[in-house]
């Protein structure tokens, strides 16, 4: 599973990254969380409100920071 956090490194992006890591830990998933900070790359996903969560190249959440429980649900669907 490939997990990406899109965002330019603002407070919300860091919160999202932390929540994703917590969700992975709690589910026992050993996935690498990649940070995408390049604006061109972010825009290529069609994302215009950051932060965004991308799982296996599919945009799952954008424009807000989901709670750990919600991220767990998203990751379990995979």
């Amino acid at each position: 599973m490939k997990i990406k956090v899109l965002g330019s490194g603002c407070a919300n992006c860091k919160r999202l990254e932390a929540n994703v890591k917590k969700a992975c830990e709690q589910l026992g998933i050993n996935a690498k969380v990649e940070k995408v900070q390049d604006f061109g790359e972010i825009a290529a996903y069609g994302v215009i409100s950051t932060p965004a969560l991308v799982v296996d190249e599919e945009v799952k959440v954008y424009g807000r920071v989901p709670e750990v429980e919600e991220i767990k649900k998203i990751l379990e669907e995979r």
Binding site: S8, Y45, I48, G63
Partner: protein
């Protein structure tokens, strides 16, 4: 009821004397902080629900291919409730340009979004009354519309970084939300924004109270009063690179006015602080070439200055 609570806290719990200066100041501080915080929590909740309907993704769709004028008005209006932080300005800009939103209309949105925000409007309303709050919103809209139209007419499309035009964005599924989720979003916005601005708000009110008590009332009147025509452009020039939370700005504006700064000058200063900042310009440089970035800052400088003069003339 709120006043009674503040009285009870100041005089019974903290045991301050009713007639003392400290007692009166503490009472005022407690009453004001609670009033503004409650009002903020409620208004941010409702704005949060509105935000679930007016997302940047939808705004982009509504603005695509709009003509000058009507498009700028719509963009400025939609910019008011739309959330904005300087870190999402660039993806937003790219997304709008990529979807065929004209440059001038994109700028109307980019200007309105940070300039007119619910936190500043609520606090102006709580501390100065509805007239000043309405004046702030109305002038913010006029600035966003006019500045966007001017930038649109400058024909600076070639001054956008080239990579922006080359991006081919993927289509993305839209978030779907029910009423329960919308209310949940409103609650979480209310909680997180209120908590985030609370320290600034308390600090602003506290600094305001201190200066209010210790600086003479006409402290600023001679240098920033109505008789110094240069005060407005200087205040705006100082404010543009500065960045501050709107919640901390409003109490400070209150102090500036009470110490003799002309109301229009103080409001123009506040708008230039929250409307544009150096960090935002640095981040926008990634998509705007220097010429367009300079035009953007210059148009805003002129707009804020004119607004300051206008307010000073109108508010008398």
């Amino acid at each position: 009821m709120l006043q009674e609570f503040a009285d009870w806290l100041t005089y019974s719990i903290f045991g301050l004397a009713r007639e003392s200066q400290l007692g009166a100041a503490a009472n005022f501080f407690i009453y004001d902080s609670i009033k503004v915080t409650l009002l903020l929590a409620i208004i941010v909740f409702f704005v949060g629900i509105v935000r679930t309907f007016i997302t940047p993704e939808k705004v982009r769709k509504w603005l695509g291919g709009r003509s000058e004028g009507a498009g700028n008005v719509l963009a400025a209006l939609l910019g008011v409730p739309t959330p904005f932080c300087s870190c999402s300005a660039v993806p937003l800009f790219i997304g709008f340009v990529e979807a065929g939103v004209p440059l001038g209309i994109t700028f109307s949105f980019l200007i309105a979004s940070p300039l007119i925000n619910e936190v500043a409007a609520t606090m102006l309303f709580a501390m100065f009354g509805w007239e000043i709050a309405a004046l702030y919103i109305a002038s913010g809209l006029v600035i966003a519309i006019a500045a966007g139209m001017v930038i649109g007419r400058l024909g600076l499309e070639s001054e956008v970084e080239d990579f922006v035009y080359k991006i081919k964005a993927k289509k993305m599924a839209e978030n779907k939300m029910g009423w329960k989720q919308r209310a949940g979003f409103g609650l979480s916005e209310s909680k997180s924004i209120t908590l985030k601005v609370l320290p600034y708000l308390l600090l602003g009110i506290a600094i305001g109270g201190l200066i209010h008590g210790y600086a003479p009332a006409d402290f600023l009147a001679s240098i920033a009063g109505k008789n110094n025509p240069l005060a407005v452009p200087i205040a705006v020039l100082v404010g543009i690179p500065l960045y501050s939370n709107a919640a901390g700005m409003v109490p400070i504006v209150g102090v500036l006015i009470s110490k003799g700064m002309a109301t229009g000058t103080a409001l123009a200063f506040m708008m230039s602080v929250i409307g544009l900042s150096l960090p935002e310009m640095i981040i926008l440089r990634k998509v705007l070439k220097p010429k367009l970035l300079a035009a953007f800052a210059l148009v805003l400088f002129i707009s804020f200055t004119l607004t300051g003069y206008l307010f000073n003339a109108v508010l008398g």
